[in-house]
Symmetry: C2
Subunit: 393 residues, 2 copies
């Protein structure tokens, strides 16, 4: 099978050969007429599939009648409490709403996800079981990496430490954490649990860190130091890291340098109400920054749609990116950088890799990010799995 006249960013007009679900060649367009099963893209832009590096498949209320936000305040803890009430009132299982979201992200061109799954003393491993079922449903189509996420804290939700251990034993891929100071009020006790689970099971770490200012930076440096001490090179991520956008500049610089040396990654969703990490400074220190949707129409946020091309726009918008190379770097955060952090094998347009691609009508990558056109085609292993924004599967 040949995909003819595909515009590939930084390469040009290409013909892409596919056999047995793998790319066999990406070469300059020949102009030869297409035949049989071949597809002629007519110069449309072919992109690698997008990587949503931070999603919450178990939280979304997608597909349900609208649930107004119920948090009574603006703090993380207010939202946690509101979510516990929303959870308790749910009647449709998470496997259904989460599956609806997976279909939507695929229709938007995403084929790889890292999802955080709530683990606490209200839920136990209930949501994990739901998400593991979603993972089975979409096996072979969508990569779903699972983080066991202590959404209610570890110390303030007794029993959670043991649940994190059990979650990894049952199939979660990484251990999470949440504002060791802001939520649990004890940085070392919280991080002791998280990194002990990581060491015991040989898994990576992905910690939600909303805490701002100097406290947030102190926690980031502690995470970097523990990461280095355990030899978890490249396997530790700090999600959000708002403090990098709000702390004193000399401490921010020192923290960025330590993150770079320790190979700790940063995930940003281009927050609306919080500060952005300084993306240029992080790049100078060779920190891998990747992006994700975060909350999608759930008890935390009414926003979000699982469109990582829109996410690239939001990250670029919040980072004040305007030049074409800056827009391209925001797109990398939604693709190759996430693939690197998720350690995805066989990613991107190379011979022998899985023939996965996304086609949009746009004359350049910059214009695709700005206009975010409906995805014309999403192709997985040579097979069309979504067309014109509609999931086929």
């Amino acid at each position: 099978m040949r995909i003819a006249n595909a515009l590939v960013h930084d390469v040009g007009l290409c013909d892409i050969d596919i056999a047995a679900g793998l790319f066999t060649a990406v070469r300059p367009a020949s102009g030869a007429p297409v035949t049989g099963d071949d597809l002629d893209l007519g110069g449309a832009l072919a992109l690698p599939p997008m990587v949503d590096g931070h999603i919450h498949l178990d939280k979304t209320l997608l597909g349900l009648p609208w649930v107004p936000n119920q948090a009574t305040g603006d703090r993380v803890i207010d939202r946690i409490e509101a979510e516990r009430r929303v959870r308790a009132a749910r009647t449709v299982p998470e496997v259904e709403t989460g599956s609806a979201l997976v279909r939507q992200v695929v229709a938007n061109g995403t084929l790889h996800l890292r999802t955080h799954v709530d683990i606490d003393n209200q839920l136990g491993l209930r949501n994990l079981h739901q998400v593991l079922e979603i993972r089975e449903r979409f096996r072979g189509l969508v990569t779903i990496q699972v983080v066991a996420f202590p959404q209610s804290g570890i110390l303030r939700s007794p029993g959670t430490a043991e649940l994190l251990d059990a979650a990894i034993a049952e199939g979660a891929d990484l251990v999470g954490g949440l504002d060791p100071v802001g939520i649990d009020g004890d940085m070392d006790a919280h991080l002791n649990v998280v990194f002990a689970v990581a060491a015991r099971h040989g898994v990576g770490v992905d910690i939600h860190l909303h805490d701002g200012g100097e406290s947030g930076l102190v926690q980031m440096r502690a995470i970097a130091e523990r990461s280095r001490a355990l030899g978890l090179h490249g396997q530790v991520t700090i999600s959000h890291g708002f403090a990098l956008g709000s702390g004193p500049i000399d401490q921010v610089q020192r923290t960025c340098a330590l993150l770079g040396e320790s190979l700790v990654n940063i995930m940003t969703h281009g927050p609306g109400g919080a500060t952005m990490p300084p993306l240029r400074l992080l790049a100078e220190h060779n920190v891998h920054v990747f992006s994700g949707s975060d909350n999608i129409r759930d008890a935390w946020s009414p926003f979000g749609n699982g469109d990582m091309l829109e996410r690239a726009m939001l990250v670029a918008y919040r980072a004040n990116f305007r030049h074409d190379d800056e827009l391209a770097s925001a797109f990398k955060m939604a693709t190759v950088n996430g693939a690197h952090v998720l350690a995805l094998p066989h990613y991107n347009f190379h011979s022998g890799h899985s023939a996965d691609l996304v086609v949009v009508d746009a004359p350049s990558l910059a214009e695709a990010i700005v206009t975010r056109p409906r995805r014309k085609l999403v192709i997985k292993a040579g097979r069309v799995v979504a067309r014109d924004g509609v999931f086929i599967g």
Copy 2:
């Protein structure tokens, strides 16, 4: 003509009667079958037309091949210099690109615009003439209010003061200004010119103020005091006002109070890289806040598409709005608040007013803002002017 089964926010399912281009009744849906020219919306959401309170029709490069951003730095002055180069290289007249943008905003449900038009010693009144021609082209369909905008400053662009006077004489509706301190380095000299033009011609004022911190706040208070001294109640707007999001809190509060007392309005586009004005605090002081697109695919920004429903989302996202009433308030900034500031007569669903409305497939206003569906219908004076996102005119 009857528009049956229209869902109206805060009212419910309605039948809307129209005669001679005016609403004659908005009443509870009768369930009576539709006949002849009647439209059955089947419960789709009917919204008032959107008001884009800050657009730059003369700057957009929409419809032209992609022009990468060329600014060599991040300051306002760097972007001004880059734009002067882009302007000089243009070959397609602004009346064409600006008209393309008007068609796009109408297709997105906007029927009222306030556009700033560049006036400086490179352009003279050239762009004003282009925009006045656009206004003629769309007369009867789109309200276009024109601000004579000294984009290169007043003092540092000799001759501009006289050009602002001439612009008003030739048909501009308001006089603009730009960072009296940051660009012109002399607050009083800049404001003397702006307010003298306003007083001489009896027109309103709309000043771009990017300057942050204490300096920005000092300038805002000076604008409010001059506004009060001249009796320009409600006719003065500060566009952007980033300083309200970055200055010392006690000074921000004092400034908000003065803006409220002086009836000075604030325009925000929900900036990506700059600070948001504190919308709740401004509401407490009864300051009218409205919104606009600002730059759309021009020498300043690659972003923007003229969709004010997306703008309401961006403003809400940046303001950290999550509750339904907060989403509704962001929508007001894109509709009724703008209509108030632009002093539009006959706005919104009232008997005797122009039968203008926008129809989207969404079960509630909150969901419309979150999902931003394609506009199903845009109706002006009882006539369909756009359908399924396509301009008919």
